[in-house]
Structure formats: structure tokens, C-alpha cells
């Protein structure tokens, strides 16, 4: 499963000057499609928090963070701040997924579809793995059932590879599962 958004840990600080020999080192965890964008996002956020720019700062380390248990399902809560057409808003969203990167990608696509917010207008404030008891949204809580059982109501008939796709078929498909 390849994800568009990767999680990076970026560490940087301002350049040492005569007045400040050992400037404070700051570390951020953020999501970006690649390392270059991650570094750029790091300076963007740091500029908003401290008086430092990329031109008078240095990058100390950038590492990609991988999911520890990609084979278990977790409930992720994501706190975000986004810009709508009329102003900034905070939001809390919940997703069920196997990896954090997968849930972040779900979040970006959902914000784009439900609120028409493009990804550069979204800032992720915080993410957390939520235990099942503390989930707030009904749409995630409905899957917290160890004896879950439901039928697949509609069967999409499609050829097993795109090569076998044809415009015309000899018979009508059977859509019952």
C-alpha cells in the first residue's frame, strides 16, 4: 500500500551567532509527500512560532517515521486547523485505519470532498491513537463490534485486469452478491 503522505521528523535550529552560541533545537513531526516538502513545511511552521527563517537557520536531521504495527486496526483522532472561504476553523476528525499515514490521507481527501479545502490550507495540530472507549464519532463507533456481520449488498462486476476491459458485453451482469 503506497501512501501519498509520509510522516517525517524534522529537526532544526537557528544558526549560532555571537550573541547566542547554542540556539534551541526544535523538532517537528509533520506530513508531506516528500522530504523536500517536509523541510519547507518545517520552516513554515517554525517561522510562525519563533523568529527564525530558513536563511538564518540550519536543518539538523530529517527522518521518515514508519508505522510500528501496520497490521493492526487503530482508531485515529486528528485535530486540524483549516482555512475555509470565510475564515479559519478547528476540527476534530476520527478515522479507522491500519496506519497513521493512511488515516492522514483519508483526512485530506475527506476535507477536500466535504469542505472543498485543498491540502495546503490544512494544518494538522495533533494526532492520536484513540482507544475504542473514547471515540466520539458514531461512524467509527459502529465498527467497534467483535461480532460484526453485514452482507455486501451490491456486487460490482469488473474484469480482473484492465486489459480485459471491453466496451460491449454479451450479457447483462448479475449484480446480486
Amino acid at each position: 500500500m503506497s501512501y501519498k503522505f509520509h510522516q517525517f521528523q524534522v529537526v532544526g535550529r537557528a544558526l549560532p551567532t555571537e550573541s547566542d552560541e547554542h540556539p534551541k533545537i526544535y523538532r517537528m513531526k509533520l506530513w508531506a509527500t516528500n522530504e523536500v516538502r517536509a523541510k519547507s513545511k518545517f520552516w513554515y511552521y517554525l517561522r510562525k512560532l519563533k523568529k527564525v527563517k530558513k536563511s538564518n537557520g540550519q536543518m539538523l536531521a530529517i527522518n521518515e517515521i514508519f508505522e510500528k504495527n501496520p497490521t493492526t486496526i487503530k482508531n485515529y483522532g486528528i485535530w486540524l486547523r483549516y482555512q475555509s472561504r470565510t475564515g479559519y476553523h478547528n476540527m476534530y476528525k476520527e478515522y479507522r485505519d491500519t496506519t497513521l499515514n493512511g488515516s492522514i490521507e483519508q483526512m485530506y481527501t475527506e476535507m477536500a470532498s466535504r469542505h472543498r479545502v485543498r491540502h495546503h490550507c490544512i494544518q494538522v495540530i495533533k494526532t492520536a491513537t484513540i482507544p475504542a472507549k473514547l471515540c466520539k464519532r458514531e461512524s467509527t463507533k459502529q465498527f467497534h463490534n467483535s461480532k460484526i456481520k453485514f452482507p455486501l449488498v451490491f456486487k460490482k462486476v469488473r474484469p480482473p485486469t484492465r486489459k480485459l476491459k471491453t466496451t460491449y458485453k454479451a450479457s447483462r451482469p448479475n449484480l446480486f452478491v
Binding site: I73, T98, P151, P160, V177
Partner: protein, 133 residues
């Protein structure tokens, strides 16, 4: 008209699209409305969309997300392999695979066997016609 095959923990499904096409997998957990966590003895446990699965009639008795050892033991206990290979769906797939992997000599042998079978059938039919006449 009611549904007989349900998405549930332990349901055996056939993958009908993608990298794992043709594999029998077991649904070990449901992620959300569109995805399930599936596992098979020869693959790493992973997520798959329901659109890529076709449910079968076979169901094994497991708890949510068992470890690999328990899963393989449950598959043995449920006798999934034999049930699948003896079911009409499973047999059809085996025949399809066999036909696709024939070489020219095999096809020649099949041609001879078909001619022979047709000859025997025609003989019996001629006998029955003679008796009826």
C-alpha cells in the same frame, strides 16, 4: 432473496482483482465500511477493499485478528482447502487453470480423447435408436 454470505470475522473470500488475484483469504477484521483486514497463510496480514473480494460460502471459527499460527490451525480444522477444491466453484477454477497451462501435446491428447468419447456416445445412441425403432 435474503443474504446468505456475510462479511464477518472468519469468512473466506476470493480475491478477484489486483496483485493477489485468485487467492483465498480470510477476513480477520473489518476496518470500516469499505475495507477489511485479511490474512492468508502465505501473505502478510493487510487491508483490502471489499470491491476486490468475492465472498464464499466457507466460514471458519476464529476470534477477531488471530495470530498466524491460530489462523493456520483454524484453516486446517475447518478443512477449507478440501471444501474449496470440492465445491463446484473451486473445481471450475482448477479446470480453468489447467486449461490455461496446457501445451500443444496436451491439447492433442485432449482432442483424441474427445473424439473417442464422442465415438462411444454415438455408438450408444445408435443402439438406443435401433431398439426404439
Amino acid at each position: 432473496m435474503p443474504f446468505k454470505r456475510y462479511v464477518e470475522v472468519g469468512r473466506v473470500a476470493l480475491v478477484n482483482y489486483g496483485k493477489d488475484y485468485g487467492k483465498l483469504v480470510v477476513i480477520v477484521d473489518v476496518i470500516d465500511q469499505n475495507r477489511a483486514l485479511v490474512d492468508a497463510p502465505d501473505m502478510v496480514r493487510g487491508q483490502i477493499n471489499f470491491k476486490r473480494l468475492t465472498l464464499t460460502d466457507i466460514k471458519i471459527d476464529i476470534k477477531r485478528v488471530p495470530n498466524k499460527k491460530t489462523l493456520i490451525a483454524a484453516l486446517e480444522a475447518g478443512d477449507v482447502k478440501n471444501k474449496w477444491e470440492n465445491s463446484s466453484w473451486g473445481r471450475k477454477l482448477i479446470v480453468q487453470k489447467k486449461r490455461a497451462s496446457l501445451n500443444d501435446f496436451d491439447r492433442f491428447k485432449i482432442m483424441l480423447a474427445k473424439i473417442k468419447k464422442a465415438g462411444v456416445v454415438r455408438q450408444e445412441l445408435a443402439k438406443l435408436k435401433k431398439e426404439a425403432a
